[in-house]
Amino acid sequence: MNYSPQEIIETIRMVQAEHLDIRTVTMGISLLDCADADPTALCRKIYDKIMARAGRLVPVCETIEKELGIPIVHKRISVTPIALVAAGIPAAAFPRVAATLEKAAAAAGVNFIGGFSALVHKGFTVGDENLIDALPEALATTERVCASVNLATSKAGINMDAVARMGRVIKRTAELTAAAGSIGCAKLVVFCNVPEDNPFMAGAFHGVGEPETVINVGVSGPGVVLQAVQQSPEADFGQLAEIIKKTAFKVTRMGELVGRMASERLATRFGIVDLSLAPTPAVGDSIAAILEEMGIERCGAPGTTAALALLNDAVKKGGAMASSYVGGLSGAFIPVSEDAGMIAAVEAGAMSLEKLEAMTCVCSVGIDMVAVPGDTPAETLAALIADEMAIGMVNRKTTAVRVIPVVGKRAGERVEFGGLLGTAPVMAISRLDVSRFIGRGGQIPSPIASLTN
């Protein structure tokens, strides 16, 4: 036999008992050729192009799932940043573009479509301003549309005008979706050094350097890594890294296989496999649980950042060997609401916003799916974003903030988003006044380390 029974059983156990799955197959579609000054024509072209390219995405992925016996949890679409595609239409028509994306996503059968986005790290174009102004309404009136704004890069510095503005946009979005736990903010993420080929929501969009269409794959597998770590309670850190690397290799190979099959069947380029370890609220499918299994009583205790650094690096080393093209975010995610261990750590008082910020220095992505009290001032949200942007800028890495100021909730309460987005404990955030800092405006210059040429 070409495979030992142990190998065969190991693969089946990974899927059945340890939640191994392909987290997302995301098709990127360029909409640059849809640009039109007439909103009606623009929306028609966008809808037709998405349906022509991604109409078969879901059935093709469902067949692959059955052939391989591995679930593909999400099938998604990302498009060219709408601020570019819709730059020629009036500001008032932007929500119509969001509605068109929603309609196309529903017709294609995907649960999220990303790319209601703008890149403003060095300033705003008219299209950027119109898109950002339309964000609260667009997010409140759609279910599937995800939005992202890049506010900073290591090369350009931090656009603090945009940071201040996004603080206000997040507040307004929370207010408009107050009846549903301010869920609009869960579909909006701000970035430093945003990748153009990220398959994961809410931050996915199809970058301008990308081809017409592309298939990008995000793998998952915290449960598989947890199981491997559990089996080696006496391993030292070198051995632990080795175990995680081998596991990450196996998990990533599944992403590589699925990406190749999907791109071939959809007659599309295969882009990248994103090596991120993405948790789910399911018991055992948790990043926090892996860190705790390493010997930390509760995620958030001293040692958590070092444990996460080891995990993140070992996953990359194993994953890089398994895939020909690696990209996207490629690092462990620490979203609070989507990780049962993180939720437990916050509710036990072990995990603070400040510790989360420290952890984002050594992993992807940032302050992710964090609920804060609804009365948090827009300036404080902006300052939280500015800190995260600074970490990304100086360390030449991607960082992001997806924060939800839940209207009517105070620290210590809970908010239920339901479905994919989980349950979030409302975390305490500093009440100190930072409005004079945010009020300064302008651009924080790029660091000296960016002068590499």
């Binding site: 036999m1 070409n2 495979y3 029974p5 065969i8 693969t11 089946i12 052939e67 016996g69 196996k250």
Partner: protein
């Protein structure tokens, strides 16, 4: 249909041991035109486990239909049956 491309799959069958498991599984495979290339079977405790490598290139039905039929047969028998493309195991366990 005679010049079919090779399409290998791995079938695993797990469940409580009793008379006739292999007969029913292989009987259905024969009906479906699926050729068995290799079989490994063992009893762990009272658990019957079998893995097979099969050639589905000449199968009478498309992959997914044949897979659904084998999974349904497993349910009928109270056994867990998986049928997956061999690529899964090659990608995961071989460099």
């Amino acid at each position: 249909m005679d010049q079919q491309k090779s399409l290998r799959a791995v079938i695993t069958v797990v469940g409580v041991d009793r008379v006739g498991i292999i007969a029913r599984i292989t009987g259905r495979l024969a009906d479906l035109g699926i050729n068995i290339l290799d079989i490994s079977q063992t009893i762990m405790g009272d658990l019957f486990t079998m893995s097979m490598i099969v050639e589905m290139g000449g199968a009478a039905k498309p992959f997914v239909e044949a897979r659904d039929e084998m999974v349904a047969l497993g349910q009928e028998m109270g056994m867990e049956v998986h049928l997956q493309r061999e690529d899964v195991f090659r990608y995961m366990h071989r460099i």
